[in-house]
């Protein structure tokens, strides 16, 4: 077990390096010059030259990559010019809200999706399955940013049940219940698509597992159907579902970009959009690298969890 985790941790290094390479060289592709882009077209040539030197843009590309890599390993992602503070500080401030939102959504989507998928699989050909097909279809076809707006319109503006936006109330906010109240609409909106995907996958995996011989063996023992479904079939299905949950985490984090914009959630997605609109290259770079690294770690955890559940995967 420990050996497996260590092995996976070591295997993570090339992936992280790959991510850093891709991000760095994509950013280096910026037409013209980052210094020019930052300072705008009215900047004096001297200023541009000074910033170029400051950013190290006058050195060869490969050398710049290694300098940059050395810096980011120490947590130095440079300074955001639009916010005038270190990129890493801003990213870390924004990370918590995003993880709270994405994590809640993923948990919500997993529970709902797996439950719906199991029911649809065991009631195949029943009305539940038909209803399921319909709901999943709506789920994966709905633009989440629009759905968020509709929720705000209905539940916040019409019914007044939940706040319109933000993570905490402006006055006297910040308590646990206050955050929960703010979290409901964005996390439900964000969970819709993932629920559809997870439900669909759970259904098809369950259908596949339910045909296996050991399910027949479990039934031949006279075990109650609940035991057959949950203990024998679902556990095996879960082994295949978990890696997909890891991948879904990526889609949920990506989807958070829209939801944070709709609900003014102070997360990293909104930060990235603003950074792109203000051409704050270093902020985009830092945000993307950190989130991509977190995604790699999430997938690693999914793999380890799969390993724990399945004794056959050898070390």
């Amino acid at each position: 077990m420990h050996r497996y985790i260590i092995k996976r941790l070591i295997l993570m290094i090339p992936v992280l390096l790959g991510i850093s390479i891709i991000v760095f060289f994509i950013m280096a592709l910026i037409p013209g010059d980052a210094a020019q882009a930052i300072l705008g077209s009215f900047a004096t040539p001297e200023n541009v030259a000074r910033l170029r030197a400051e950013l190290g843009l006058d050195k060869p590309l490969v050398q710049r990559y290694f300098i940059w890599l050395g810096n980011i390993v120490q947590g130095d992602f440079g300074r955001s010019y639009s916010l005038d503070r270190p990129v890493i500080d801003e990213v870390l401030d924004r990370l918590g809200p995003t993880m709270l939102l994405a994590g809640t959504s993923l948990i919500l989507a997993s529970i709902l999706g797996m439950f719906a998928g199991i029911v649809a699989a065991i009631k195949q050909f029943g009305w539940q399955d038909a209803a399921f097909t319909f709901v999943v279809l709506i789920g994966i076809s709905t633009p989440s940013f629009w759905l968020g707006l509709m929720f705000v319109l209905l539940f916040s503006l019409q019914l007044g049940w939940f706040p319109v936006s933000g993570m905490t109330a402006v006055v006297g906010g910040g308590g646990f219940l206050d955050v929960v109240r703010h979290l409901v609409l964005p996390s439900v909106t964000l969970a819709v698509v993932a629920t559809g995907v997870i439900a669909r996958l759970t259904r098809s995996t369950m259908l596949e597992v339910l045909r296996r011989d050991f399910v027949r063996s479990a039934r031949a023992k006279g075990l109650p159907e609940r035991t057959v479904i949950m203990k024998h079939a679902f556990r095996n299905a879960l082994v295949n579902i978990i890696p997909v949950l890891g991948i879904q985490a990526g889609f949920v984090i990506g989807g958070a970009v829209y939801i944070e914009t709709v609900f003014q959630w102070p997360g990293i997605g909104r930060m990235l959009v603003n950074a792109i609109l203000t051409r704050d290259v270093l902020l985009v770079q830092g945000g993307v690298v950190v989130v991509a690294a977190i995604y790699v770690v999430i997938n690693l955890m999914a793999d380890v969890l799969q390993h724990v559940l399945d004794p056959r995967i050898s070390v």
Partner: protein
């Protein structure tokens, strides 16, 4: 079932048709936008600001600049569609090329390309798109590029996977050898064959890509004014959501309907193109085999059920049998017809897996059921406790009595009471029949716990005892082993321990040694034989191998094409086979007890079970066939203990 599946097919086809209709309408309307009598979508009339839907001249109202919503929606849809479809086309083209080249050339090219693809997939999807937009700048074309790039990996992976399988096939080598150039092979031979995969991938990604491009526009990173797509309209309409909700609501609705249409169409397309879905692989069997409603009614009407033969459900251990007339014959099967219903198009036809099978298993006896694969022997065995998968299986006729109680149509609780308790199964492949994620001890113990209601600790102890009984060395340690940690022979011993868990009256063993090698096979047979005698349990032993059956069994039932064709004692069958089929089989068995011998070497194939001949089912392979054989169904001739289904058998000779 037939009704359900028809309904479902219809339902699905209908949905796909609805999808096609939606997509066509959207395509036609947006293509016709220039010739439709629409106001200029960019004409601002400030007096019309935020006009509500239903206003004169503006059926869908106007936006915050007084522009006509209907016109803007149609033009916006045009832009969204164009961008989404272009992104799909680019991703499909580039991704497929990468996939097909990587698979065809293999080696370092494959490695480099696929590592790169893996790297791209290490990013959360949306984040990579944002990074690309950050570099290229906000704009519709840049959004298109970003969405294309992030979707390339899906195509590359799927197409590579499909091509790798094809490249190994002989016809590709043949094409190469015939002097075709690489490009001719790639695009002439391979591409046409991976097209379905490309289309399947398109069908799963195109809706997503339209949503994502709209999303980027919504964020202000895609379409820039004055160009508007559905996403940017939605983004602008957000500002006036409170006073004029229609401005933001309508573009979103159009996206929703369009993507629903695309996804419905895509699902329909996959149903047709994907061989896995088409094969009906994704059908889950129900807890018990379905019994035909007509048969159910007949059984319920009473004349088939003998009253007063019910065994107490809580009978201790149950070894006392049932007491009355079921006492000497615990298990009797009469006229069993279990059919598989298969669909083709809108009609369903029956595969008559078992077609009137009867036999009895006396107390303490061992009955062999012998036949080729497809003869219906396993289906017969599984029918006893309703373990034939439904769909497609369905019991159409017959009666199965256990200690006098009718099992066909019995409530599922009754079946569960007997399953693994009074009647236990041993299955063919111990590897797949054991749950890979649960320890073998627990797989034995759960049956004990469920039927005897004992504590966890007691059940575990019992499991260990049972493992000792089936001669698993060091059972105390192996209790916590997982199936993959045991050898094939040990696994089947676990399978036998599961069967013995509750001291059953009948054990049904379905080819329990076929998956094992010969020496192990001998050990397992010996074990089964010993246990059967020491535990006093009746055994139904199913095999294609007369040698194996002759070692264990007293009586044999020979099955062919879903019917019993001959029955008798092992000795009678071996020395004086009556049916031409059995005679041929016995000719292949050189010596009683040669268990390495399988049923082979009979020329020809059994008839298709969904298209059976009127007369004798063996006629096409029979060496003494006459015209009379084909005229009418051949009945079993003889008395209960010695029967054969052949017109040449004299009633008296049986």
């Amino acid at each position: 079932m037939a009704v359900h599946s028809k309904f479902r097919r219809f339902f699905y086809n209908r949905l796909a048709t609805v999808g096609l209709f939606i997509v066509l309408v959207v395509l036609v309307v947006s293509a016709a936008a220039p010739i439709l009598p629409l106001t200029d979508p960019n004409q601002t009339v400030l007096t019309n600001r935020l006009l509500p839907p239903g206003s004169e001249g503006h059926p869908l109202g106007a936006d915050e600049l007084g522009r006509d919503m209907l016109s803007r929606l149609i033009w916006g849809t045009r832009v969204s569609l164009a961008v989404g479809l272009s992104a799909t086309a680019i991703a499909a083209l580039v991704g497929s090329l990468i996939g097909i080249f990587a698979a065809f050339y293999g080696g370092w090219l494959d490695n480099t390309l696929m590592r790169g693809i893996d790297m791209l997939m290490a990013f959360p999807y949306m984040l990579l798109a944002l990074a690309i937009v950050a570099v290229l700048g906000a704009g519709l074309f840049n959004a298109l590029v970003a969405i294309s790039v992030v979707n390339i990996p899906f195509f590359a992976r799927n197409v590579r996977g499909a091509t790798v399988g094809l490249v190994r096939l002989e016809y590709v080598d043949a094409a190469r050898l015939s002097g075709k150039s690489d490009m001719e092979v790639l695009f002439g031979e391979l591409l046409p064959n991976v097209l379905p995969v490309i289309f399947i991938t398109i069908s799963t990604t195109v809706g997503w890509m339209i949503l994502e491009t709209a999303g980027l526009s919504f964020l202000g990173l895609g379409a820039q004014p004055p160009t508007a797509d559905l996403g940017s309209m939605l983004g602008e309409g957000r500002k006036s959501i409170l006073v004029a909700p229609h401005v933001a609501t309508l573009p979103g609705l159009v996206i929703l309907v369009l993507v629903i249409g695309i996804n419905l169409l895509g699902d329909g397309l996959r149903d047709v193109l994907d061989p896995y879905l088409r094969s009906g692989a994704l059908v889950s069997p129900r807890p018990a085999t379905e019994v035909d409603t007509d048969l159910r009614r007949r059984l319920r009407s009473g004349d088939a059920v003998e009253p007063g033969t019910e065994v107490s459900p809580d009978g201790p251990g149950g070894n006392d049998g049932g007491g009355n007339d079921g006492g000497t014959v615990p298990l009797s099967v009469r006229e069993l017809r279990t059919w598989f219903w298969q669909r083709s198009g809108r009609t369903s036809s029956a595969v008559r897996a078992t077609d009137g099978v009867s036999f009895q298993v006396p107390r303490g006896a061992a009955l062999g059921i012998m036949g080729e694969s497809g003869s219906g022997k396993s289906v017969t065995a599984l029918s006893v406790l309703g373990l034939v998968p439904t769909p497609p299986g369905r019991i159409m006729d017959g009666s199965i009595r256990f200690n006098g109680e009718e099992l066909i149509g019995a409530p599922i609780e009754r079946l569960r009471h007997y399953r693994g308790n009074r009647i236990a199964y041993i299955f063919q492949n111990p590897m797949t029949s054991l749950n890979p994620l649960i320890t073998v001890g627990e797989q034995i113990a759960e049956s004990v716990r469920h039927h005897q209601g004992v504590s966890r600790a007691a059940a575990r102890e019992r499991a260990q005892e049972l493992m000792d009984k089936v001669q698993i060395p060091n059972a105390a340690a192996r209790v916590d082993s997982y199936p993959h940690e045991l050898s094939g022979g040990m696994r089947q011993r676990v399978g036998i321990a599961v069967a013995l868990a509750n001291d059953p009256d009948v054990i049904i063993a379905d080819e329990p040694t076929t998956a094992l090698d010969v020496t192990i096979q001998a050990q397992i047979l010996k074990l089964l034989d010993d246990l059967r005698r020491s535990e006093g349990v009746s055994l139904v032993f199913i095999s294609h191998d007369f040698g194996v059956i002759s070692e264990l069994c007293d009586r044999v039932v020979v099955m062919y094409a879903g019917q019993v064709v001959e029955s008798g004692t092992v000795d009678e069958i071996y020395r004086h086979p009556l049916h031409p089929y059995t005679r041929r089989l016995m000719a292949c068995v050189p010596r009683l007890g040669d268990r390495a011998r399988a049923l082979t070497a009979i020329p020809g194939l059994p008839p298709a079970l969904d298209d059976l001949p009127t007369g004798c089912r063996f006629a096409d392979r029979c060496d003494v066939v006459t015209d009379a054989c084909r005229e009418a169904p051949v009945e079993l001739r003889g008395h209960g203990a010695r029967e054969a289904r052949c017109i040449l058998v004299e009633e008296t000779s049986a």
